[in-house]
Symmetry: C2
Subunit: 259 residues, 2 copies
């Protein structure tokens, strides 16, 4: 652990054994000293969940040569909180989360454990980025996207980010395999249309599997969905102040002051 090299914290939501985090570690080792604290099992779609009703385990593991790595029994956000309190020798210069197996563009940012880990780091004051590849496969091609990860991480390390902002980076898999470039975007307005699949257990009781169809309601060409569909890496500056500031004046006109 050197004082002159940047210190980089890594987490994810697919778990410490995922190929995506291995690829991210490989790139970050070129840029600084790396500490990994990641879930000991897949924790996708955990959103910003934290564990308050049972205790957590934290175990040093040896699977990523040349870096300090721990697996944690909790959620991605738990990993970041434990790293801050128990492992990091100082505030890291950069926190990166991922590389997620699957897109976290548009409304997916709300459900994403990958982005929540990065957001937790940002809330604590770290410069943070969530990286996702638009390919759910375990054997997705992380090798060819490493130059984009490196460039974005290097530039972010150099420039920094103001408190309150983190980056949501999604990388497409174009049919012709040629990424056209990088676009700074806004989050597309989209939602899922739920379609739970109902089944019967051997005791004739119903149970439900969540499935759903992604509905893009946004025709803008400045969105992350547009960028990804057109072969660009999308970067959305993302914030955790959820206040709809423009709406405050309007609500002050409501009749809320007699009860």
């Amino acid at each position: 652990m050197s004082d002159s090299k940047p210190l980089i914290l890594i987490s994810n939501d697919d778990g410490i054994t995922a190929p995506g985090i291995t690829a991210l570690i490989a790139v970050m080792k070129e840029l600084g000293d790396v500490i990994v604290v990641a879930p000991d099992k897949p924790q996708s779609a955990m959103g910003h969940a934290i564990t308050i009703n049972h205790p957590l385990r934290l175990t040093q593991v040896d699977m990523h040569p040349g870096v300090i790595a721990y697996q944690c029994s909790g959620t991605p956000v738990d990993c970041v909180k434990l790293a801050i309190d128990k492992i990091l020798p100082r505030r890291p210069d950069l926190m990166v989360s991922g590389i997620n197996h699957g897109a976290n563009s548009s409304i997916n940012v709300i459900y994403s454990g990958t982005m929540s880990a990065a957001m937790e780091a940002a809330i604590d004051g770290m410069t943070a980025i969530g990286f996702s590849l638009c390919d759910y496969a375990w054997e997705a091609d992380f090798e060819s996207i490493k130059p984009y990860i490196r460039q974005i991480a290097k530039e972010t390390l150099k420039r920094g980010l103001p408190y309150g902002t983190l980056l949501n980076v999604n990388i497409p898999v174009p049919e012709d395999k040629k990424i056209k470039g990088i676009k700074i975007c806004r989050q597309a307005q989209a939602k899922y249309k739920e379609a739970f699949e109902e089944r019967q257990d051997p005791f004739k009781r119903s149970y439900y599997w969540m499935t759903g169809q992604f509905i893009n309601m946004d025709q803008g060409q400045d969105t992350d969905i547009w960028a990804l569909e057109n072969g660009y890496v999308s970067i959305v500056p993302t914030q955790f102040d959820l206040t709809d500031h423009q709406r405050i004046a309007q609500l002050n006109q409501w009749n809320l002051h007699e009860s």
Copy 2:
């Protein structure tokens, strides 16, 4: 189920047996027809987690007279998704979540299952409100705050909210028991300083309990924390577009276009 009365969906994160949801049901029954879909156990701090790796159970229960009520084995967001797909006869006129046992002001909005249920409803297009009482006790006094719940819900039903906005309502417990009024606020900038408590199990292995200290970094008098500390009900208009729109131009100046 009448066509002329408003249809109101209720969920929470403390579970269907919590006194907070019982109080909310009592108020909403005065305003319309009520359908409840709530977790079958406490799901606090679940954030926007959804359940994708195992199936869900959904069971009609008889514990809330005069309303249709279901308990669900999943998270608060799962409850809303199941309600939409399997239970609601039409889009509700209002969705309310809570009343949470404990504050969801400031950065707590990020971790809150109560607010995530309301947010999921808003993403689907419902007019939605999360209600929280700043008292963690199971036996908190919900009776005396019912007029505020009623007034805010009635006014919101009447006015509606534009797509993209929901309300985060927190109700204080002033020392003199006198609530001064209602304030429209922004989310205060705050975070938790983690302090995990390390213990040893009977086999001498460490485990960690999450504890933390709330740090308000915001001196503004227009914040939810200020309102609550000064005896006012806080209402924060809350959005799920997490884009930091102001930062887009700045990021376009970065050197991201060579890789």
